[in-house]
């Protein structure tokens, strides 16, 4: 039997023979998705407000992770990274805005992609220079939660990561609704010129938005340090994933970001069981293409109707 067919046949059987794996896959996918959604939150925010696609998103995440790792190396529990990392990263984001982003913010999308791509290369090399090119991990020693007689295992570090992500996401939404700066950010996102006329300091709003995005990346990064691995050059998958989540959710749709994050996470896990690990990431991209085509199709029908 050719290995591909054999693989599909076998895995098919496995997930149906052991339905408990479906529980495992769903929970794994949801936990994974929530963490990615947090990164996508930041991206959606600054994309919506500043119309910038930040290619360096993943590098900001990894940088945040290294902050938690640095704390771990000095003997502090890496879990505290979720407090320290966003504070430092906020200022990193603010600084990046003042140095680079403010020069490209009202130019076209291509320029901003190039600029953030440059930032991404620079930060990679910088992190390589400071932390070395070894793959590193930080230990949380949180243990494991066992369900169904040990058949389903959930690492507490991942549960911790999901809870922290949810808390930060809710906090962000509340902040956007209630605070003065939050209102200013939303106003700027709707119409930057009008906001400026009404006395909003858009320059400050942009800097704060980029800072908040970097801070969210910092939180996510310190969670990744205790759940996955860190390496100066592994940022790109996080950029791509958050980009996808935002595309699927649509701009300015923050609850949608959370849902699409979890949805893609679960889809990816099931693709792994049914199609095999090698098709896992490919199938997510296939889904993305499908969604984009479907959206276009739906939009064009709407346009025809309007005519």
């Amino acid at each position: 039997m050719p290995p591909l067919i054999g693989g599909i046949f076998f895995m098919d059987l496995l997930i149906f023979q052991a339905p408990i794996l479906m529980v495992q896959a769903s929970l794994d996918g949801i936990l994974l998705g929530i963490l990615f959604a947090l990164i996508a939150y930041g991206m959606a925010l600054q994309w919506g407000v500043m119309n910038i696609i930040n290619i360096a998103q993943g590098e900001l995440v990894i940088m945040g992770g290294y902050i938690a790792y640095f704390m771990y190396m000095t003997g502090i529990h890496p879990g505290f990274g979720i407090i320290v990392s966003p504070i430092i990263m906020f200022f990193v984001g603010w600084g990046l805005y003042k140095l680079v982003i403010n020069k490209v913010v009202d130019r076209d999308l291509f320029i901003s992609i190039l600029a953030t791509f440059g930032i991404s290369i620079l930060t990679q090399q910088l992190m390589n220079f400071i932390f070395g090119s070894d793959v590193v991990v930080a230990q949380s020693n949180f243990g494991t939660t066992m369900l169904f007689d040990g058949m389903v295992t959930l690492p507490n570090a991942k549960i911790f990561a999901a809870i922290v992500s949810i808390v930060f996401a809710i906090g962000l939404v509340a902040y956007m609704r209630k605070s003065k700066l939050g209102r200013a950010i939303r106003a700027t996102a709707q119409n930057a010129r009008a906001a400026k006329i009404l006395g909003v300091d858009t320059e400050k709003v942009y800097a704060a938005t980029f800072g908040i995005n970097a801070a969210l990346c910092g939180v996510a990064g310190s969670l990744i340090a205790i759940t996955f691995t860190l390496h100066p050059y592994v940022g790109l998958p996080y950029t791509v994933r958050s980009f996808m989540i935002v595309i699927v959710a649509g701009l300015g749709n923050l609850p949608g970001v959370a849902l699409s994050g979890m949805g893609l996470g679960v889809f990816e896990e099931f693709a792994d069981y049914i199609l095999g690990t090698e098709f896992r990431i490919g199938s997510v991209f296939m889904l993305l293409v499908f969604i984009l085509v479907y959206r276009r199709f739906k939009l064009s029908r709407k346009r025809e109707y309007l005519k």
Binding site: L14, D28, V135, M151, I224, Y273
Partner: protein, 411 residues
């Protein structure tokens, strides 16, 4: 007219440039034999590139201080021209070209990693420049019929074959069930080929054969399958990231297997980073300091380890040891050829049959070292301190293999 003038100036400038470079063409300067190497000093391989460079330099200093190389009654010393290939294969190929064409290097040392060696080998081959490499283990390096490539290390497909044989032996010679997870890159897939061959040879069954995408940080799905199918051996190979991810998630998910065989345990500092969670992992390595090979330059592995540490401030990983061994091979070949002619040296290289502190070295017609077996070590902990102990081949075993691995509930 202007354009014509411009072309003339341009062409003569190039001619001038070429003539000056031909003057600087030199394989031997004074009493120095010049070797060339492109090594990753920046970029993602920079850590291992550094090990490679330190290994080369350590051996050069040692050979030079112990009398150098005697060719045709004259004593020479080694010197190496280094360039930084930035961990980029395109750059590595360019630099090899530059070393050969501009710097006139006639003897090459390999870069770090299979990928970069693959990029350089066509260049050295085309220019008929012999290269002794110590850090490219990919099987495909030895299937292209290269005549000028010599590798002192064992090929990637040999990495974990031993582990499968060992598992079958522990199972009373009966076939076993194997679960595998390999990253989708040239090296890991070569390791996979070796395991598949060993499975066929022993009649063992492969129950899971996952190919992990390079971008993947999460092996939870693979490990859940392993948990459900209960294989005898779990084989994982995916560079440092794969090794660290696997141990983290195996411990988190409490996956019980009788044997866990991996690669890159030492490169990823597994025992240090994961401590007790990495205990009982079985790892393939090219070299370990406790092996009892000897040579007159470095003594044995223990001595090499000690002196390297004194010089560079850290214990030598096998990447450094095999790099040092490459220089010993060069010295031996020059003296046997008794000539500096690159083709005569190449022929001498192909007849190499020697022992170094790193292991025996003898090349197959394809340039692969066929005289040195891989070693397996197991991570063992005493209290919180975890160490790699050699368990196979039994001739050098410093500790008995713990098999099967105790269940997580008993640990």
């Amino acid at each position: 007219m202007k354009i014509k003038n411009f072309i003339i100036t341009f062409v003569s400038a190039i001619a001038l440039l070429l003539s000056t470079t031909t003057i600087s063409l030199a394989k031997v300067v004074g009493d120095k034999i010049i070797l060339g190497a492109a090594v990753s000093l920046t970029g993602k391989y920079s850590t291992n590139g550094e090990h490679t460079k330190n290994g080369y330099n350590f051996a050069v200093d040692r050979i030079n201080s112990m009398g150098g190389i005697k060719v045709g009654g004259k004593t020479y010393k080694f010197d190496i021209i280094y360039y930084d290939d930035e961990s980029n294969s395109g750059r590595a190929a360019q630099l090899a070209e530059r070393l050969i064409k501009q710097d006139g290097v006639q003897y090459m040392l390999g870069p770090y990693s299979s990928g970069l060696t693959k990029a350089i080998a066509p260049v050295t081959e085309e220019n008929k420049i012999p290269m002794v490499e110590a850090n490219g283990a990919s099987r495909s390096l030895f299937t292209k019929g290269y005549k000028y490539l010599f590798a002192v290390l064992s090929a990637a497909n040999q990495y974990l074959e031993v582990a499968i044989d060992l598992a079958v032996e522990k199972n009373g010679g009966k076939p076993i069930k194997i679960a595998m997870a390999f990253e989708q890159d040239a090296f890991s897939q070569d390791v996979r080929i070796g395991v598949v061959d060993a499975a066929k040879r022993t009649g063992s069954k492969i129950t899971i054969d996952d190919k992990l995408p390079k971008e993947l940080n999460d092996m939870a799905a693979t490990l859940a399958k392993v948990k459900a199918t209960k294989p005898d051996v779990l084989v994982v190979s995916g560079h440092s990231k794969g090794a660290l991810t696997a141990i983290r998630q195996i411990a988190e998910m409490k996956v019980d297997v009788k044997m866990l065989a991996m690669t890159h345990c030492d490169a990823s500092k597994l025992a240090k980073q994961h401590g007790k969670n990495s205990e009982y992992a079985l790892c393939a390595a090219q070299w370990h300091k406790t092996l009892s090979y000897k040579d007159k330059f470095f003594g044995d592995g223990i001595k090499y380890d000690k002196e390297f540490k004194a010089e560079f401030g850290y214990a030598p990983p096998y990447q450094a040891a095999e790099s040092s061994a490459a220089l010993l091979v060069w010295k031996d070949a020059f003296e046997r050829a008794n000539s500096l002619d690159k083709d005569k040296v190449r022929d001498a290289l192909s007849k190499t049959d020697m022992q170094t502190f790193y292991g025996n070295i003898k090349f197959s017609p394809a340039g692969q070292n066929i005289a040195k077996p891989m070693v397996l070590f197991q991570v063992r902990c005493e209290g919180d301190k975890c160490e790699n102990k050699v368990v196979a081949p039994t001739k050098w075993a410093a500790a008995e293999l713990v098999h099967p691995i105790p269940k997580w509930s008993d640990r």
